[in-house]
Symmetry: C2
Subunit: 431 residues, 2 copies
Amino acid sequence: MENLLQIIIKKRDGEELTEREVESIVNGYVSGDLPDYQMTVFLMAVYFQGMTDIEIGYLTNSYIRTGDRIDFPFTTVDKHSTGGVGDKISIMLAPIVAACGVKVPMISGRALGHTGGTLDKLESIPGLRTDLSESEFRKVIDEVGFSIISQTDNLVPADRKIYALRDVTGTVESLPLITASIMSKKIAEGAANLVLDLKVGTGAFMQNESAATKLGKMLKSTGERLGQRVEIVYSNMNSPLGLYIGNALEVQEAIEYLQGKNIPDLDMLTKHLAAKMLTLSGTYQEYQQAMRAVTKAIESGQALERLARFIRMQGGDDKVCETPQILGKAKYTVDISANKTGYIQSIDTRRIGYALMNVNAGRRVLESQLDYNSGAYIEAKIGDFVNVDEAMGKVICNDKDKGRYTAELITKAYIISDHKKKKENIILEVE
Amino acid sequence: MENLLQIIIKKRDGEELTEREVESIVNGYVSGDLPDYQMTVFLMAVYFQGMTDIEIGYLTNSYIRTGDRIDFPFTTVDKHSTGGVGDKISIMLAPIVAACGVKVPMISGRALGHTGGTLDKLESIPGLRTDLSESEFRKVIDEVGFSIISQTDNLVPADRKIYALRDVTGTVESLPLITASIMSKKIAEGAANLVLDLKVGTGAFMQNESAATKLGKMLKSTGERLGQRVEIVYSNMNSPLGLYIGNALEVQEAIEYLQGKNIPDLDMLTKHLAAKMLTLSGTYQEYQQAMRAVTKAIESGQALERLARFIRMQGGDDKVCETPQILGKAKYTVDISANKTGYIQSIDTRRIGYALMNVNAGRRVLESQLDYNSGAYIEAKIGDFVNVDEAMGKVICNDKDKGRYTAELITKAYIISDHKKKKENIILEVE
């Protein structure tokens, strides 16, 4: 057996580890030979010393090999977002792409901190299950063209165990560790093609473009090293995405979008990601062709019909696709008032996400109970003109006091001044 | 309660911690509120980010406050060495200084890795105990003027617990952590004055002067911050110290020195450290005066007489002070032969320490059994001329095969060439 402490010291001293060394650490931890207190110093050493692209490839592959790897006999494509506020895109995107003829095996996550999670949003639909077995997952994909589930027990168990440890030891914010965590799951789930929606801005983990491109390159290089085709889309997270934030509220918005409602930022990003998925997977050669197919899938109602079949097959009530309002909204609304007259210069979108934890729209810790019907409706984005005391949006809540407090916190996330401010693009031209 | 993870992240991000934050970490760990897997990331964060002098003072003080602090109603002085090969100086130094009228409360350590430990050496004397209680420790100091014991259970328990964790997580080699570990014990033991013998060279932890002075300044500043007077002596560890290496062998050499045997490097360093202890503690104003008192304490036999009383009071057989040969030597000797004719350019002294583990003169791990009577006699030092195949010394052992292997390893630690090479000074002029 390798001396695991020697490997940790080698990384501490900034040397590049071999494939065998990286694998010894990961397998040693999963098997219990490497105790928590040594694994955490390895993680902290990686935090400080980083990893080369080659090492990140070894790490990701070692993660994958601790569990099952799903393989499909047909072309597959998935999208992963690095997390933001109001990001309900997967709920529209997966059925659109499936309707265009490519299969989407999507393993998704839960809300944590200021960001939402697709699984929680979907589970606000009565009866809908996301804890499918691999064979159920395959069956839904075969019949509907896509499925969205939670990580099964035997998919990348190393990542689950290591993520729990990172969360309590200050080693979450390490680009190599983030990369291995994301890519191992996205490769093990069987997606041969992957479009990454890398969010940049005040509501994202990556606050500026240089940090985002560093992560983007790492993710792409790791996927390609392990045989996956990867494309990165950088998108703007300086404002919440769409109009609604909150679990059932976002599902309703996603369905209304597929029913034909015009929501500009959502529309632009969803169609762009869908077209990228279709070209990356080779379904269409040309972006414009792909765009036309995407638009048709939405306008013809085929995407909405796919979503309804998906909901039904995973145990949910598909009437929501006809009447999304049945999901309901919380009892009270409290206006979010502008504290000044002028143009919105910036929004601390992360603070909005955190503020909404007060009405249980988000999770402080993984055990937090969610109130699916709470959240916010927010119209005001960067560049908009507002009058003092005018409502920029509203908090939707079941506890009026907490709602008021939340609305005040959100007001403070806005910086307003007399200077005109340009509206921002949702898709960023980076590099 | 402070959020301990927030404090760890603050240190990870390179910020200076407050006294309360440092204390929360140390107390949290000792009480069990902070689990091993979080403490180790704190230690690794300190490894990478370092600590300011102020923080190191907080850390040292927090260590001390987890246990008892001994206080004496008279002037005290101690010496601490950062560890080397053949370093038997404490055995001579403590009785010399006591004979000159200053009390020496000395808490010492065990052999580990390539370095020896005073406790192991002393325990080669039949019957001698080092595990005294605090009241026994005080009694021996009162009556003999010095005592050398092992760390009692309630002296700096934080250091014992944290050191064990550092040892298995690659966080030993951190100057702030080394400083807190050394200084907490040397302050808690009740030494108001402390001379530090900072070893520099191939047989020391600090291989070069710049690393050594960095540690030296940190140790001095920390002691002074906590009310201790500290003086640093930098000494040469490019060759083994004295002629013998090995537990009972070094005790015999120390007694022979006090009986009048001339061993130049030992003599020079012992007297210098003794004189510094006497001036630092205010017993003598002038170094030359102190030097004369030291020489007299040795030549008059008073130092040897103190050593005999100490051995007797701690349960040992004081006949060794008359006839050190009764401690015995291992059965066999194997020559250490020069592999070339020429001048000794350098000696990898650390490798000699490691080689001697093969005859059980040193400890690979804390549980290793020692053979007190094994070791080596080594005459050849840097600058000496040797002929090929000439004996530069000998391995003393109870297993001839292992002895031969050890002798070969030691031969390889020597670099010999035709160029003349200056002999090196034992006391270094640093800064």
